[in-house]
Amino acid sequence: MSDIQNLVTYDPFADTGNSGDSADQQSYIHIRIQQRNGRKTLTTIQGLPSQFDQKTMLKVFKKEFACNGTIVDDEELGKVIQLQGDQRIKVNALLVSEGEIDKKKIKIHGF
């Protein structure tokens, strides 16, 4: 019975603490690119799973891609890694091979 979606009732007073479905939605890792002045670009990696330590990841990224980067703390989106230059493909490859993240969980944005 509970297979039918319409019959699944949603309890508005349920505890919102368990972010079960919101984590489901948020589970995408977004890799974006932004243009800076000139032909410089910035890569942002948003939504990294919490089991990874962002600091060490940043360190690895910086070492691997030979670029600088920071961690930006956003109010809504949590910690976001910023890297200099267009590192989208490389980040994707690294996350898939080393971090063993499903390819479908990563979304590459930008042109």
């Binding site: 932004q34 243009q35 800076r36 032909r39 989106l77 930008g110 042109f111």
Partner: protein, 320 residues
């Protein structure tokens, strides 16, 4: 009777696929053949071209075609026919007769002719084989041109005569009728195309995307939605100027915009179930739904979120 027709149709569809497949293969074959067995193949090819014109003025049509390669061929072929070898002459003769006939009846009838040949007399198997690709090609060609002006008499050329109709004739007849009555059943897939975005630079730091309105209209989407998606994906902002052009901040090339548009189409335009681009995007209490017009399926699409925006400009300007 109707069951029979259906059966036939099914087999026809398969046949059609094969034909399409063959087309490319045969083309190659044809080419290789030309290089390999020139004397046999050249003569018919030559006559095919030379047939409409008088033999004496052979040189002129060639000049008109202006292709050196053909000219070369011509010379070779002439040599061939000039040489009193029985075989070459015979082949050339057969070819001439054959193709001359074809010329009169146009491409579609080529196949008919060929089949008639097969039925009637035993041509050299090799020659027939060589002509076979032509046949299929022509058939495909004629089919591709859905104008069936000469298809009528060619397709039903057995009517007047007392010979039996062949499978291929019936095939083309069925396809002709099918094409006339409901072309979408004939297996011609309409590819979804969109005009390429016309993108140019506006000054040093801005990009103008001129035909947004046109593209949005073709996709049946609100320009606002498309623009929102563009900005979110490109990570910039921009505005619409007086003549409905989109001015985007930052430098972008046409292919970059095209890639983003392609992603938009995949995500917000095409139906995931039937791949049809004929869809509607509706908003129901803050959720976007994509409804397919051709298959009726509905799916929810994610709202456009621009996500995290890194600060790129001057910090002083940010602080106003």
């Amino acid at each position: 009777m109707s069951a029979e027709i259906e059966e036939r149709l099914e087999s026809m569809e398969i046949q059609d696929d094969e034909l399409v497949f063959d087309l490319s293969m045969k083309k190659k074959k044809k080419k290789s053949k030309k290089t390999e067995e020139e004397p046999v193949d050249e003569a018919p090819a030559d006559t095919q071209e030379g047939a409409p014109a008088a033999d004496a003025t052979e040189e002129d049509p060639m000049a008109m075609f202006g292709e050196k390669k053909k000219k070369k061929k011509k010379v070779k072929a002439e040599d061939d026919s000039a040489a009193p070898t029985e075989e070459g002459e015979g082949a050339a003769d057969a070819g001439e007769f054959d193709f001359g006939d074809m010329k009169k009846k146009k491409k579609k009838s080529k196949k008919v002719d060929f089949s008639a040949f097969e039925d009637g007399q035993d041509q050299e198997g090799e020659d027939g084989g060589a002509r076979d690709p032509d046949d299929i090609f022509a058939n495909e060609d004629a089919d591709a041109r859905s104008s069936s002006k000469d298809g009528g008499e060619a397709g039903e050329s057995w009517i007047g005569t007392n010979r039996d109709y062949t499978y291929n004739e019936l095939l083309s007849r069925v396809f002709k009728i099918l094409r006339q009555n409901n072309p979408e059943l004939a297996g011609e897939k309409k590819r979804y195309t969109i005009v390429p975005p016309s993108v140019m630079r506006d000054g040093n730091k801005k990009t103008v995307f001129a035909n947004v309105a046109d593209i949005c209209k073709r996709m049946h989407r609100q320009p606002e939605h498309v623009i929102q998606f563009l900005f979110a994906e490109l990570g910039t902002s921009g505005s619409i100027d007086g003549s409905q052009r989109l001015v985007i901040k930052g430098r972008f090339q046409q292919k970059q915009i095209e890639a983003v548009l392609r992603r938009y189409i995949v995500e917000y335009v095409t139906c995931k179930t039937c791949k049809s681009p004929d869809t509607l995007l509706t908003k129901e209490n803050r959720l976007f739904f994509l409804q397919c017009e051709s298959c009726g399926s509905t799916r929810s699409v994610s709202a456009i979120k621009s996500g995290f925006q890194a600060q790129t400009g001057k910090r002083a300007a940010q602080r106003t």
